[in-house]
Amino acid sequence: MDLVEPGTLSLKADHLTCVRNEIELFRDLSFELTSGQVVQIEGSNGCGKTSLLRILCGLALPAAGHVIWCGTTIQKDRISYNTRLSYIGHQNGIKGDLTCEENLAFYQSLGNAREDISIDSALDQVGLLEKDESPARKLSAGQGRRLALARLIMTRAPLWILDEPFTALDPDGRELFERCFDRHCSKGGMIIFTTHHPVALEHSQIQFMRIGHDKH
């Protein structure tokens, strides 16, 4: 990612309400995130964490409220928001019939890729270099997650929205993600993620946000 001055970028959730299958998951949720900050969203299963992330990406619309990126709602200028955003959902977005290298090459030519990181070095960073020629369908679940991280490393997007990035990862892989988080934030990047694991970042402070109705 390109270097960003702290505090110059902001993502604001403005009184978001989410309704799914006629059940209200959360109401009037507001928060703001500026460059260099990390937010971990917490909540029990089914409380709307994934829905919130999808609303923040613009994949889903909130029942009420707005998502505001640097002063404009994201629906108003999709393309410029999309160039600042990188998202990893439940699915890794990887084609099983393509090799790891081809998968990354596709995302690279789709645009918004950093010029200073080659595919090989991204694969090397996530420990998949010896797998570059094998079809991605042969990767284990954890290795698929690592390949998704390699894609993240290669983009120039300052805002990362990650849905359960640590699932299926071994302790080594989790440390790898944490290191990438740290590096991203120290350059002024922003991260919003959900997880049930405790996460420790060396250089940045994680802010916690609980959503959903507490059962007790």
Binding site: L59, L98, E102
Partner: protein, 225 residues
């Protein structure tokens, strides 16, 4: 279209082609269906050349239409299931450009082969040589419309489990104009009349579909994902 959008378009075409080459059943099965279904008709109706010649354009067109419909699911289904579609929607380019690329590849791997196979089936059904040429022209103009209209149907049903039946109910009625003018052109030509009216209308439908269908498809996919 800016330079980088063109690059994204090319990357999408190249990727979908590579995937099609590695997953041959996706495009080969509809073609086998096309050949098999067409060759059932002489067996069922009897080998009377006059009868067959008369119904040949209609049979070939209807089976081509069904074959195209069977292949439709491949355009977006696998991308939807592995999360690639979300990534493409969130990419830094207008999503419609990528949809154009995907529809183009679908036409190249199903529409063009259907057209190229049609002379063979024309011979089986006793269609005369000039009828075969007219049939090929009508398929050249008509098959892109099948891919374009079909893509809207897939985009609407991709989020539905086992959407296959729903897809055919949505898409087949929309195929009727193409069927009427496509098969009609061959009939008219064999009767010795001018076919340009039919072909111009098909070309008009094609232009309309090229202009509007990808926009509708992109919008429907954003809802489905």
């Amino acid at each position: 279209m800016t330079n980088t959008s063109l690059k994204a378009f090319n990357a999408m075409v190249r990727r979908d082609f590579t995937l099609a080459l590695r997953n041959k059943s996706e495009w080969a099965n509809p073609l086998f269906f096309f050949i098999l279904a067409c060759s059932l008709f002489p067996l069922g109706i009897g080998p009377e050349p006059n009868t067959l010649e008369k119904i040949a354009p209609g049979i070939i067109w209807v089976t081509a239409l069904l074959a195209a419909m069977l292949s439709l699911d491949g355009i977006f289904r696998s991308d939807f299931e592995d999360g690639s579609l979300e990534q493409q929607i969130l990419g830094p380019h207008p999503f419609t450009i990528l949809v154009y690329a995907k529809i183009l590849v679908h036409w190249l791997i199903t529409g063009i082969p259907l057209m190229l196979l049609s002379p063979l089936l024309g011979v089986i059904l006793h269609l005369p040589a000039d009828g075969i040429i007219l049939l090929m022209i009508s398929l050249l103009l008509g098959t892109p419309v099948l891919s374009l209209i079909g893509s809207i149907g897939v985009a609407l049903t991709v989020g539905v489990k086992r959407g296959g039946m729903l897809l055919s109910l949505l898409v087949l009625p929309l195929y009727i104009p193409v069927l009427i003018f496509g098969a009609g052109a061959v009939d008219v030509g064999l009767g010795g009349l001018d076919t340009s009216g039919h072909f111009l209308l098909m070309a008009a439908i094609l232009v309309l579909a090229i202009t509007l269908a990808p926009l509708a498809t992109a919008a429907a996919l954003k809802v489905s994902v």
